[in-house]
């Protein structure tokens, strides 16, 4: 049984009585200990999916309009608020994009880490503090005992993200959702944080759902990849397959737009056009206005899953490479 199963999930934005779909019928699963990468441009729905899994959309105009999210076999929509709170921070944890704002400025680092320990583990103050120091050591913060008494503003962005990771790991979660964990960091710090995540994953055996718009990050860290475009998963495959033989024109475009330092040219290759706004209704395949291979059928008929193999799907009428 998969640890996390998202089945035909649809999300919509409720604005002045209208429901505008933002995530459309996506399915994926994460097995215990595995890493799933979700990649896509800004606004494709990848973060919303994560927020929906963590139950952070309750107070927003986003509504779940269909499908199910199951964690350890339990439907998250049907459990009570108290049961959900018992899961959050204990079995599943999340780290956010903005390490500068994701720590409460008025509390010491140690207090923030021990909070979820106190909530889920009922540890004594002393034991929780010792555990917090251990966690800081685990995320390789120098002088962990001393740092427990630091305030967030005394730490750099990379350090804060490490603290966030330490907080998330406090109760040994089975699943960690990392929503663009390195986007706000310097490139060098980015690499350190990703290495750290990979090491911690190996040590603790947790599963990671890594959300990013950076294909490099995904390629290096993930076993499976799902590419999202405009609320749909347009291609899903193992990382090896996806990067070796991309099948959806969008994935091909993304891969082509990575600059090649050896190539002897000055221009970056980009996908033409722009991400459509959610107000635009696009008949047929949502990607067809930007697709170089678009045919008449793409303008009228929504593509179903063109299954290349059981493990490699692409939402396209004319998937490139492979089967033909």
């Amino acid at each position: 049984m998969a640890l996390l199963e998202v089945e035909n999930l649809s999300l919509a934005l409720a604005l002045s009585g209208m429901l505008k779909p933002v995530v459309d019928n996506i399915s994926f699963s994460v097995d215990a200990g595995d890493t799933l990468g979700i990649v896509g441009e800004s606004g494709c729905g990848k973060s919303l999916t994560a927020l929906a899994i963590m139950g952070l959309i309750a107070d927003s105009p986003i509504r779940i309009t269909g499908g199910a999210i199951r964690f350890e076999g339990r439907d998250l929509a049907s459990i009570s608020e108290a049961e959900r709170r018992a899961l959050m921070g204990d079995r599943m944890a999340m780290i956010f994009q903005e390490p500068m704002t994701s720590l409460n400025p008025v509390y010491r680092i140690g207090d923030q880490i021990t909070e979820s320990l106190g909530q889920h583990r009922k540890l004594s103050k002393k034991a929780a503090r010792a555990r917090a120091a251990d966690l800081l050591r685990q995320v390789r913060i120098p002088d962990p005992e001393g740092r427990l008494d630091a305030y967030p503003h005394q730490l750099s962005g990379g350090m804060r993200q490490r603290v966030m990771i330490a907080m998330a790991l406090a109760c040994d979660p089975a699943l960690l959702i990392a929503d663009e964990p390195t986007t706000a960091l310097d490139v060098t710090v980015q690499a350190q944080i990703l290495d750290l995540l990979a090491d911690l994953q190996e040590e603790t055996g947790m599963a990671v759902m890594l959300i990013s718009h950076d294909l490099g990050v995904i390629a290096e860290n993930c076993k499976d990849v799902a590419v999202m475009y405009r609320g749909r998963i347009v291609e899903a495959a193992s990382a090896a397959d996806l990067f070796a033989a991309p099948r959806h024109p969008y994935t091909v475009g993304l891969l082509n737009s990575i600059p090649d330092p050896d190539a002897d040219k000055d221009d970056l290759e980009a996908i033409p056009g722009r991400v459509p706004t959610i107000d635009e209704v696009i008949p047929g395949c949502a990607f067809h206005p930007r697709c170089a291979f678009a045919q008449d059928i793409c303008r009228d008929v929504r593509p179903g899953d063109a299954i290349a193999s059981k493990e490699h799907t692409a939402l396209c009428h004319f998937p490139t490479g492979g089967a033909e």
């Binding site: 963590m54 139950g55 952070l56 107070d59 608020e81 709170r85 018992a86 899961l87 959050m88 921070g89 204990d90 599943m92 944890a93 999340m94 956010f96 994009q97 903005e98 704002t101 994701s102 720590l103 409460n104 400025p105 008025v106 509390y107 909070e115 979820s116 909530q119 889920h120 966030m164 907080m167 406090a170």
Partner: protein
């Protein structure tokens, strides 16, 4: 203690007027604590022979129409000023914080509560206080309560806006995903971030409460007349103002000085917390 001194220095450095304000408030505080030792006279003791004496060596601030010592009444009046100020601050901050925070956090409840606040704010503060005092009896508790209610509305408005902003901060989401429930999110994660604006708000409410209390006393709807308060003294001086102007001047000056001092301190605190509002007048 050294940390407190450092903070004090940070807030008031280069603000000589605000420091004078602090000085005056310390004098008021001393008067409040040591009132019985600062004057040989009882503020209520009547001396018909010495009525309406002009300020002299014996009665520094003169006496009123019952021959009561004005200085003693001013000193004891400071007690009332402080009590009313603090009471109004506590009532309005507790009420306003609860209303503002809950309204911002629970959107539906907020729709109802904030409309009530809007209606209350549509009345001029003094008018609202007058209406409430007409319904209630004249007493210290009721005066504190009514002035507190009047400033609850503005506090609720301010806290509503700040909580709306704070509840969308990532650290609040981060708290939610570690399994924190509503009370924990509200009071452990949001409220501590509101302490500094609340502190600033407290100083202004304290100052405005003085004016409000004086106005109510003057109109005969505040503290009972037998209680020596600066506002009651003003009200009583009205009749004798042409013959005994000191009766008007001393309590009036005390009200002005205290309100002005409190506002200066509030300005300094606000600038230290939110430098965007800082004015360019050096030393203010």
């Amino acid at each position: 203690m050294t940390a407190a001194l450092a903070t004090f220095n940070q807030v008031f450095r280069g603000r000589r007027l605000a420091l004078l304000g602090v000085g005056w408030l310390i004098i008021v505080a001393i008067a409040v604590v040591f009132a019985p030792w600062l004057t040989p006279y009882d503020p209520l003791e009547i001396d018909p022979v010495a009525r309406l004496t002009a300020p002299n060596a014996e009665h520094w601030f003169g006496t009123d129409h019952f021959g009561r010592d004005t200085l003693a009444r001013c000193i004891y009046g400071a007690r009332m000023a402080l009590l009313i100020g603090l009471g109004a601050v506590v009532v309005s901050l507790v009420g306003g914080t609860l209303i503002g925070m809950l309204s911002a956090y629970f959107t539906r409840l907020g729709h109802v509560l904030m409309r009530v606040v809007d209606v209350a704010m549509a009345f001029p503060a003094l008018l609202l206080a007058l209406v409430l005092m007409t319904i209630l009896d004249r007493s210290v508790t009721n005066t504190i309560f009514v002035i507190g209610i009047v400033y609850t509305t503005t506090t609720a408005r301010i806290l509503f806006g700040m909580t709306l902003k704070l509840k969308n901060e990532v650290f609040v989401d981060a708290a939610v995903v570690t399994g924190a429930g509503h009370p924990s999110v509200l009071f452990k994660h949001i409220l501590p971030n509101l302490i500094s604006p609340l502190l600033v708000q407290a100083t202004f409410i304290f100052a405005f409460a003085q004016l409000q209390a004086a106005a109510l006393d003057f109109l005969g709807l505040g503290l009972p007349p037998e209680i020596p308060s600066w506002g009651n003294m003003l009200a009583e001086s009205r009749v004798y103002v042409t013959r005994a102007s000191w009766l008007l001047m001393f309590p009036g000056a005390l009200i002005i000085l205290t309100v002005f001092s409190m506002n200066l301190v509030g300005d300094a605190l606000r600038d230290a917390i939110d430098p965007r509002f800082k004015d360019d007048i050096a030393g203010v």
